[in-house]
Each structure stands twice: as structure tokens, then as C-alpha cells.
């Protein structure tokens, strides 16, 4: 349904041109939840924004590539055509519902405005649609909540409203950028339940997160990004059971596990396997593999040559020379 081929996004900064997304390709099928995981600054949000062409101009530019949505390249559309796609065919859920909703308008008004922009119906009908959707995302007293301002709702409620807005026009694809990061775990669990329900509507989803646990709970397929590139891709079980790229391995090992090993006795805690060093600045990535200077298995070839994604079968791919056998 959505196919992204070799997109590269650059930003012009005072210190020079920064490649935020470097030659990224992937696809999303119908009714599939694809996770995009990586640390801050790895380019995962920029990838998502570029799909909707929301890269801030004039500093940001999509240099190369194509974004095919049902075979049509979104990069060729004019602004007016693009507006028809946004919110209707592809919608977005942002990390902070508090800043994504307008503080000056009631929930109802914001929802109705969006509906009327895309559908040729009366305001009354739009109001009803909005109200039904508030009910579907389990907001109590939807009738009254329509008149509430965002500040009157809690964070979890606001995120439900965002989800309702993203779904009410029955889009083909929802892009969710860290939808639960600002929420407490028990509220996060509620939102996940809602998203699982959402699959009934045949909606696909691109879920962006830094949390491998969230990926496990929600996704069918996973893309791991590191320093502007996709380093590994595969279905969920493959990524978790046989991670291949040293970064994916390190990422999985560095997550604290919810457990209290009986053997540790009085020691109090066990050392985590941390990835040494830190994410390099986008201005001076290593010239070969971007993970070169933190990789425990790096060898000479990694220094200057950029590894390509190597197919390991079953859609599992890793961008590492070690996977080449």
C-alpha cells in the first residue's frame, strides 16, 4: 500500500548540511502495524514527517527517492492535492496531545472542522460522527466532552481524542509518532488496547517509538534505525529472537528486564550490557558504517565502506558485513 524507495532528507543548519534520513526504503501492507524504532536523533520522526511532506521548509529537503501511496508518488502532488491526503487517507497521532490540539477551541469544534474539510456533509452530521468516535475511544460522557477544551482533559484523555481524530475519517494509514511516550504505563496499556481494536477498521499503522517493549506489544514488522539509516528490518519474532545487526543486539541487551534474579542475593542489581559511547552527531557520522565507532565487532572494512541491507530470508534484512555469509 505504501512504498518508500530510497528517500534521503537533508537539513540546512548553521554548521552545514545534515543528512537526517539516508537512503531509507520500506513498505507497509494493508492492515499491518510496522514499528520504526531508534534513539533520539536517528531520523525516525523525520522519516514519518516526510511521508506527509511535513518537513519544515525551506531548511529541510527531500533530496531523492519516491513515496508511493497506492502507486502514486506523493512527492509529485501539489499542495492542494496533498491536503486531501493528509488527515483523510493518511493521518497522524503526535507524541504530545497537549500541544497538537488547539487550546482555544473545543474538542468538538476541532473534530468537526477536520471532518467538514474532507467530507461534504452538514455540520450536524459531522458533529454526530465526532461524538460517536469519542464514544468508540471510550471517553465517558462523549456528549459533554465535545464542549470541553483540551486543558480540561487529562493526558490520557487528550491522546484518546487524538486517536479519535486520526481514525474518524477512516484513513488507510495512521502514522503514530511516540503515541504513548508521554503517558503513564497503565494509561499506555489502555491506549494499546484501543489500537488493537482499531485493526478492525482495516487500518495500517506506522508506529514510531524508542521502546522495544512497545514494538513487541504492538507490531507485526520492525525497522531499526540508527544514525539516519535503517540497519535492520524483519518481522517481530525474527528481530527479537535472532537480531543480527550489532546495534539491534546491543539495543535489546541494554534494556533493563523486569525481573529479580534469585541468584543475585545481596548484590542488588545486575550490570546491564550497555552500548559504549554515544550516538554520533549528524554532522560527523563515521564515513563507512555509522555504527562503526561503537560496534564491538567492527573491523577494517566497516571504516570506509557503507554496508548494504543483506537479505537473510523471510523478509529479514540487516545492514552489516557480518551478515554476508
Amino acid at each position: 500500500m505504501l512504498e518508500i524507495n530510497n528517500i534521503t532528507v537533508t537539513f540546512e543548519t548553521d554548521e552545514g548540511i545534515v543528512k537526517a534520513v539516508d537512503n531509507v526504503s520500506f513498505h507497509i501492507d494493508r492492515n499491518e502495524i510496522v514499528g520504526l524504532v531508534g534513539e533520539s536523533g536517528c531520523g525516525k520522526s523525520v522519516t514519518a514527517l516526510s511521508i506527509l511532506r511535513l518537513i519544515p521548509l525551506p531548511y529541510g529537503r527531500i533530496e531523492t527517492g519516491e513515496i508511493l501511496f497506492y502507486g502514486k508518488n506523493l512527492l509529485d502532488l501539489n499542495p492542494k492535492e496533498m491536503r486531501k491526503i493528509r488527515g483523510r487517507a493518511i493521518s497522524m497521532i503526535f507524541q504530545e496531545p497537549g500541544s497538537a490540539l488547539s487550546p482555544l477551541h473545543t474538542i468538538g469544534r476541532q473534530m468537526v472542522e477536520t471532518i467538514l474539510l474532507h467530507k461534504d456533509i452538514t455540520g450536524k452530521e459531522a458533529w454526530n460522527i465526532a461524538e460517536t468516535w469519542l464514544e468508540k475511544v471510550q471517553i465517558s460522557d462523549p456528549r459533554e466532552r465535545m464542549f470541553a477544551y483540551p486543558y480540561q482533559l487529562s493526558g490520557g484523555m487528550q491522546q484518546r481524542v487524538m486517536i479519535a481524530m486520526a481514525l474518524m475519517l477512516e484513513p488507510d494509514l495512521v502514522i503514530a509518532d511516540e503515541p504513548t511516550t508521554a503517558l503513564d504505563v497503565t494509561i499506555q496499556a489502555q491506549v494499546f488496547e484501543l489500537v488493537r481494536e482499531m485493526r478492525r477498521f482495516n487500518t495500517s499503522m506506522l508506529l514510531i517509538t524508542h521502546d522495544m517493549g512497545v514494538i513487541w506489544e504492538m507490531c507485526d514488522r520492525v525497522l531499526v534505525m540508527y544514525a539516519s539509516r535503517v540497519v535492520e528490518e524483519g518481522n517481530r519474532d525474527d528481530i527479537f529472537s535472532k537480531p543480527t545487526h550489532p546495534y539491534t543486539i546491543g539495543l535489546l541487551e541494554s534494556i533493563p528486564k523486569l525481573s529479580a534474579p534469585p541468584s543475585r542475593g545481596d548484590k542488588g542489581g545486575y550490570r546491564l550490557k550497555a552500548i559504549p559511547g554515544q550516538v554520533p552527531s549528524a554532522l560527523n557520522y563515521p564515513s563507512g558504517c555509522h555504527f562503526f565507532d561503537r560496534c564491538p565487532d567492527a573491523f577494517d572494512r566497516c571504516r570506509n565502506e557503507k554496508p548494504k541491507l543483506i537479505d537473510l530470508g523471510n523478509g529479514h534484512k540487516a545492514a552489516c558485513f557480518l551478515a554476508e555469509k
Binding site: I187, H210, G268, I275
Partner: protein, 337 residues
Amino acid sequence: MNYKQPPKSPLLEANDLQTWFPIKRGILARTVGYVRAVDIASLYINRGETLGLVGESGCGKSTLGRTLLGLEKARRGKILFCGKNLLKLNRRELREIRRRMQIIFQDPLTALNPRMNVIDIITEGLVAFGLLEGTREDHAKRLMNEVGLDEEAIYRYPHEFSGGQRQRINIARALSLRPDLIVCDEPVSALDVSVQAQVINLLMDLRDRYNLSYLFISHDLSVVSNIAHRVAVMYLGRIVEQGSTGDIINNPMHPYTKALINAVPRPDSKEIEHKRERIILKGEIPSPSAPPSGCMFHTRCPEVMDICRERAPRETKSGMHGVWCHLYGRVVEWSSS
């Protein structure tokens, strides 16, 4: 500095602490109510021990940590540090105690003065307490080595460091006065996963090297289970369950603890995934300015009983594992607390 505690008596003990914030209205700023950030909380921390304090946002865990350090004023209760009640000390005595209790904040950047360089930041406390032996530079370099930073970087400013490095600077500052207790208030929440692990490891190494005690405050149960010896679970101003990390993770008793553990998204093996029933709590945390009657958790509890709406539960204890829930034990007398 190497004060030996008599065994058995904890380094820090807090009994029935209560910290309320007044809500003021009108031009006369009359108090119209209270935000009951910490309603009743008791805990203890032994020397060299890490107590994890978990709970969701707004449950009062940070306020509790700050109250223990005297950064917020407790309305009621007792805080015993090495046997001295902190709430009864005068300013001079308090100042000496404060040297021995430090704090690390969540956001490493805002916790550092942007106009001071690292050497000034991490030796400021030493100068203030007159504990500087030798030069500031020597001290700073030693501290930088201690937390795994380049000692040549002492003349740089906070903005020149990455998030993980900044948190190391905060740790170096907390360490500079050789404290006995460090309150770590969400010390790794603002960091990336790969860096988070480095900082957790560092905190554990330092604890073991200097026999430090930590109050480790976090919303992330996985992080806490990784570093803490014991865990206290807090909900709406009260501690609802307390016990060894093993007890809390493997044998949670309180319905809230169960739900909290259940809600942690994590990769499980296939078998566990099927066995694990999902407990999804309804609703949200009530406001601490108008807390529910009886048990604070009754509005969301899947196992709520009539009694829960009326009376606050007391602690039921088995060994070190304590739980505040009507499901366990019987209430001996009627009381409204």
C-alpha cells in the same frame, strides 16, 4: 565520613510523613484546600541499600523524595537520619546533615547552571563546606574519572556535553561531598536506552564502591527492578506495597502492583505471553486534591469490595513484604485516617 552505623538501625527512616500543598484562591490568598501529594508514607533505607520508589506521574513519589531531603516541608511525621529527627533540627545542624544527603534530578541540563563550567559545578559544594584539600582542579579531575568522563573536559560548559555525559556531571556533583544517601529522582528517564544502561551501571558501581544508599525514584518498573534491593509502590500519596524486589516482581499482592507489572510492555517468551492475562485498569488516577474515601485505589480496582470505599486499609505484613489492601488480613478496628 566513614561513620559506622550500628547494625539493624536503618540509615534513614521516615514514619507517617505527610506533605500537603495548600491551594490558594482569591486576593486574600485564602487556603481553600490541599493537594495531598504525600498523604501517609513510611519507609526506611539501610546503609548501602537501594530502595526503589515506583508510581505513576502525580502519585507523590518525587515530593516524598524531596520531603526526605527537607526540600519540601512535611506537615506531619518523622524523618530519622542516623537516629536524628530532621524535622526537629536547627539550621546549623541541618546544614551538616545536608552534606550527607544529595539529589540527582531527572533533566540533567536544567539541573546544571549553564553559565558555570564543570570544574565550578562539581567543586562548588566542597568550597561551600570548606572541605577542599588541595586544588579545585585535582578534586574535579578525580571526580571526572570517578564518573567516567574525560578529566580534560573540566573547563567546558554543560551545553558542550551529551545527555548521558551531563547526567554523569550531576552524579559527580552529588558525589563530591561524599554523601551517605543520594535521592535519584528519575535519573535515567530523559536518556536514550543505550545511554540509560551506562548510567544505571555507573550508579550501581558507585554504590558498591562507596557503600552508598539510594532512594531510586522512577516510573519505570524494569529500571527499578534492575537496581533496587527493595521496592515501594506508591499510589496517590500513599505507599500501597513494599518488599524485596523479588517479592514485588514475582509475587505482587496489591491489585495496583499487579496491574502495574502487567502493563509494562516487554518482550516475553511465547509461553509466558500466552499465560499473561492482560489487566487493563479502567479510568485514571483521581486528583490528589480530592482523593477518594477509603482505599485510594478503589475507584480503579478490579477487585473492589464494599469495605474499600469506606475504610483505608492497614498494612498486612509477612516478613519484609507489606501490603495495604483489604484483600489481605482483617481490619481490627474501625478508624478513619
